[in-house]
């Protein structure tokens, strides 16, 4: 099991990957990707009980579903660096004939991806379906999912959230990336959602808050706590407070870098703030 320093080194390398991937093709979504680096590293390196090889059915292992598919750069980097496909393949992000599509898909057969996402608001339902099948299969492993906070403006989420509690789906941990930003600005300006904790609790979920979502130790502790609350008849929600663009100073605390790539100069600044640790792809 990796120690905290090793996890931090990996997180830094993932940030470099994200910046280099979106810079190369001058497109993609660095902001939310950078903000979720600690979460993905914690999940794939320590929290999930997963097999090293990939098969779609994932019987006998934990599963993860990314609902906010636009943060594919962090997903791809962590999948590659967790052994699902060669790290060099990150070079093909968003290029023609690549398995690393702009938004994740099963269609090109990329190991680690179990459903397409990108059109927002569909991940809760899919993850809950997988959780139902785990119960039918008497598979005691868990289902994890990640959703953007702005994404919760889509109505389908609330259909799934309602269904989960009504059906006592207690083998799921759904995390909300609470960065407070979406394309057009702050979520509180675009469409204020009030207290997500109050909403999830009212819908019958157990809620865990991680206030420091960009502190690997805090993420590990929070996710371990969430795990301990599964199997008690209620679905578990993690409210993960992150900073969009975290780790690159000029990208932080703004929606401006939601879907914009850095230029050459900005890339160099970003990389200089995240020194190479495990080797670039």
């Amino acid at each position: 099991m990796p120690n905290t320093q090793e996890l931090q080194d990996l997180t830094t390398q993932v940030r470099r990957d994200i910046l280099r991937m979106v810079h190369k093709v001058n497109s993609g979504h660095p902001g939310g990707s950078l903000g979720c680096a600690e979460f993905f590293v914690a999940l794939y390196q320590e929290i999930m009980d997963r097999k090293t090889s990939f098969d779609m059915d994932g019987i006998g292992e934990d599963l993860f579903f990314l609902s906010n598919g636009h943060i594919s750069p962090v997903f791809y980097s962590v999948l590659a660096r967790s052994g699902y496909f060669p790290v060099d393949e990150l070079n093909t992000f968003r290029l023609i004939n690549s398995r690393l599509q702009g938004h994740p898909t099963t269609h090109e057969g990329l190991p680690g991806v179990r459903v397409a996402s990108g059109s927002l608001g569909q991940g809760f339902s899919v993850a809950l379906g997988a959780a139902e099948t785990k119960k039918l299969n008497n598979d005691s492993h868990l289902v994890y999912s990640l959703h953007g906070d702005g994404e919760l403006q889509e109505g389908q989420n609330w259909e799934g959230i309602m269904y989960a509690a009504a059906n006592n789906i207690d083998n799921i941990i759904s995390t909300i990336d609470l960065n407070g930003q979406q394309i057009d600005g702050a979520t509180d300006d675009v469409l204020p959602m009030g207290s997500l904790r109050a909403k999830f609790e009212a819908f019958g979920w157990t809620v865990v808050s991680i206030e420091k979502g960009n502190d690997i130790t805090a993420v590990l502790e929070g996710m371990a706590k969430a795990k301990s609350l599964t199997g008690q008849g209620k679905p578990v929600c993690v409210l993960l407070k992150t900073i969009m663009g975290n780790g690159v100073d000029f990208m932080m605390h703004t929606h401006a870098w939601h879907g914009k790539a850095p230029n050459d100069e900005q890339l160099e600044i970003g990389l200089s703030q995240n020194a190479e640790t495990l080797g670039d792809y």
Binding site: I59, S119, G129, A130
Partner: protein, 318 residues
């Protein structure tokens, strides 16, 4: 000419229910989901016999499609049940991304398709669903003609890996295809042999085509009636073989002529063998309240309409 006997009117949705009941006994991976329409979809029996494999999702069709997509991960074969309108238009993006693009083995089973839903009116009478579903890459589209065939199709699609849209209806209609028939996806069924005109029909219009062929026979017109239960993949060969003999064709469906079976047939003919074609279908319109019979008469979707279309297309031949 070969004739068919109606063994007693039955609704196609009950054929679906019977097929699902059979699957419950024979395939433990089959699970069923319903959005608050258990009775309408005839899923009561499956629910009663396999409560652990039945999922009531409430009035939340988008969630139902997503749940079904997720349930395939781990080997289940989900059958979703609601009206055709709420099985397609309401959830198009969910089907597109979470099911079709994600290659998920989901069976979308849709009742109350078309005008024959009747008195509920146009809000519920979808006439665009075949078009919506056939445009999705990888989606198989089936529209069955009677109780027996719907039961057989329901059982058959469980053995087919990949997303399927199975369309059927509400009213009790003639049941005339064989009991316990084998159902081959993508394989047209030739019902009568003929030399003057090809009539290809799908769904409730198949029986109407047979009725029309009897009248045409009395008028000295020999019609070859083909039941196209699978609109995608379409049995191109069966259509081309038939028109090479008859030289003209009528397509008949309970659907808009835009996007339906007729358009798919026209595509095949335009590519391989340009042939005069007439369409028995709705003419880019919504439906309205009325009895199924009144609606099919008003919108030109019955044996009489097929006879008129045949007489028209015969004049265009040569």
């Amino acid at each position: 000419m070969k004739t068919y006997t109606n063994t007693g009117n039955k609704d196609t949705r009950s054929g679906f229910g019977a097929g699902l009941t059979e699957l419950g006994k024979t395939n433990e991976n089959v699970v069923a989901l319903c959005a608050d329409l258990i009775g309408s979809l005839k899923m009561d029996d499956f629910k009663a016999n396999h409560p652990e494999r039945f999922f009531q999702v409430g009035i939340a069709e988008a969630n139902m499609i997503g749940l079904a997509a997720g349930m395939t991960i781990g080997g289940k074969i989900p059958f979703t049940g609601t009206f055709a309108n709420f099985s397609t238009g309401r959830v198009y993006d969910q089907i597109r991304q979470s099911v079709a693009y994600s290659d998920k083995n989901v069976k979308i089973c849709a009742s109350h398709a078309g005008l024959t839903l009747g008195e509920d009116g146009a809000t519920h009478q979808i006439l665009e669903d075949i078009g919506l579903m056939k445009m999705l890459p990888g989606m198989t589209v089936i529209n069955t003609c009677d109780y027996n065939q719907t039961k057989a199709a329901t059982i058959a699609i469980a053995e087919h890996h990949g997303p399927v849209y199975l369309r059927f209806g509400r009213p009790k209609v003639a049941n005339f295809t064989p009991e316990n028939q084998s159902f081959e996806i993508g394989k047209a069924v030739q019902l009568t042999e003929g030399t003057d005109v090809t009539i290809v029909a799908t769904g409730h219009l198949v029986w109407e085509a047979l009725e029309a062929s009897k009248t045409l026979h009395e008028k000295g017109i020999s019609a070859e009636v083909i039941n196209i239960h699978t609109i995608k993949p379409l049995d191109d060969k069966a259509i081309l073989d038939s028109v090479s003999k008859t030289g003209c064709i009528v397509t008949a469906e309970e659907h808009n002529y835009l996007g339906g079976l007729g358009e798919s047939v026209a595509r095949v003919l335009a590519q391989h063998q340009p042939t005069p074609q007439e369409f028995v279908a709705t003419n880019d319109t919504f439906g309205e309240s009325g009895t199924p019979e009144q609606l099919m008469e008003k919108y030109g979707l019955n044996a009489n309409a097929i006879i008129s279309a045949t007489e028209k297309v015969l004049k265009r031949k040569n």
